[in-house]
Symmetry: C2
Subunit: 311 residues, 2 copies
């Protein structure tokens, strides 16, 4: 989408890791902001972001970055959102939109909501996009292309501000869905949080086996294990915060998962091939639907085989 005038005069990114830096690249590609101001808590990240140059200005404190911005997006781990919001609240201009990219939404509304000044439109958001890499070098403009961004406005949210934020995400390449924060947290618990939890768990289990060496686990990982290690290489702070802040929904889906796994365990113990075959057939259809919905590639092995790795 090419625009004649930018959607915003100034956008501030509080946090310029994978998501923040990708947003900067995507905004530049889409011509969405005349000025992009950035902030990161660590001096190293600020210096590196300045070097990479995806923001027009980098600031040593978040309030300076946010001052006068039409849109401020908090791009920190969920556990740091409240203090980030506190740090900028006095410099937010009336009529500004304040959003975030956190993976949980009910806790964010609980923590950030009370800090937001009168006259600022707080609309929580969550782009369902990412990679296992983190930091300002990991960002790229295409990250949000074709992926979904979920917005979870609270009751009484200004419709114009919401429509503007929807335009913003579409301009970044996203599709946009609006839903209630509680439903978001449950949907993401099954589509993202539980997958990460069990990926982290199996990689831990494999590392701790006494009878199989770590080097064997690594050598023979192409049998399926390697796929889990990608997800289990995601940012530890971000994911710790997700589990601490979406406890209820994660425990709920984890309970279902464990119940189902016990049934599978029993089927294996008693040699119930029919039950195994039925499940394994059913799950194949869901993969097809995901590929048809444009949410994954049809290529075998995610296309990895095109360029085999040789050591």
């Amino acid at each position: 989408m090419t625009r004649t005038a930018p959607l915003f005069t100034k956008v501030a990114l509080i946090g310029v890791g994978l998501i923040g830096s990708s947003l900067a690249h995507a905004m530049r590609r889409g011509g969405l902001a005349a000025h992009i101001a950035g902030y990161a808590p660590s001096p190293e990240t600020r210096a590196r972001a300045a070097e990479l140059g995806f923001c027009h200005s980098m600031h040593d404190n978040p309030a300076d970055a946010a001052r006068g911005a039409d849109l401020v997006i908090l791009c920190t781990p969920v556990g740091a959102l409240e203090s980030a919001a506190q740090a900028i609240s006095s410099s937010l201009k009336p009529g500004a939109i304040l959003s975030d990219v956190g993976s949980v939404k009910t806790a964010v509304i609980r923590d950030v909501g009370p800090v937001v000044p009168e006259g600022v439109h707080f609309i929580p958001g969550h782009p369902i996009a990412g990679t296992e890499h983190s930091g300002p070098d990991a960002g790229f403009a295409e990250l949000f292309d074709g992926r979904w961004c979920i917005l979870t406005p609270v009751a009484g949210t200004d419709e114009t501000a919401l429509a503007t934020l929807v335009d913003f995400w579409r301009g970044c390449g996203s599709r946009v869905e609006v839903m209630d924060s509680k439903h978001h947290d449950l949907v993401l618990a099954i589509t993202s949080h539980l997958p990460h939890l069990i990926a982290y768990n199996i990689v831990g289990t494999a590392a701790d086996l006494e009878e199989v060496t770590q080097s064997e686990v690594i050598k023979f990982s192409a049998g399926g294990f390697r796929d889990f290690t990608r997800i289990a290489a995601s940012d530890p702070v971000m994911w710790r915060d997700v589990f601490l802040n979406n406890r209820e929904a994660v425990l709920e889906v984890l309970g279902r998962f464990s119940e189902d796994l016990s049934a599978l365990q029993r089927a294996i113990r008693w040699g119930d091939g029919e039950m195994l075959f039925d499940l394994f057939t059913r799950t194949r259809a869901i993969r097809r639907s995901i590929v048809e919905a444009g949410q994954d590639t049809e290529a075998a092995n995610f296309g990895r085989n095109a360029k085999p790795n040789r050591a």
Copy 2:
């Protein structure tokens, strides 16, 4: 590797699905066989394989395909190996090598071993390579490049025959490791069978949630879930047979996994962020080792982001 003379005059493939057809392509690329004979139980697969032409001859019964071959490789699901071996045993020539590509090895030795005629060298094998696609169209020459093939010879195996089979797999692009079948089954239980089991399980759990629609699971799958659906799209018959035939080792590692998952569940319930952070940091290092070992790509998201899918 280019050869002046083929390693074998005739190789027979009993089964021409993903692995069988990939072996045919790899043998042709490496110049490993003067003649490749193929067999598949279903007339449709035989016809399709004949059309694709990766074998020099396709046969209506396995004994004809195997007759006079220097190397016969059983490429059927593990549950069909015994009857396949029975069907060809009378046509195996003395001095021939009989191998397979099954994902479990102790059960294969138990089932196939007794059927092998005197004078035939039975050496079980397992290439740690595959994709979520199956059938004769799914095969390609590069499947084994840089991956490991594990051979699990029984006591008293002829050293020359073993060396020849090692040469064969190297000629197909593989690296080769030799180990005891029981150890193989445990290593694969953690690096392949358990990952498949929990991938199948989580996809099943997601499909059965009442509060989250199937369409939501599909739309928002890029948060992690989609990766699991690839593995859970693997061939149902093949995987049913794996779990029925590697029961003990799978139940052993599954017990460990469930124990560890309970500890994680407790950490989430009690808000133990330190435990979560420690595990999530540890698992990141294993991903790095797998990439360094050439067993996966370094590219973010397995390189999928290079060409985003748009519906």
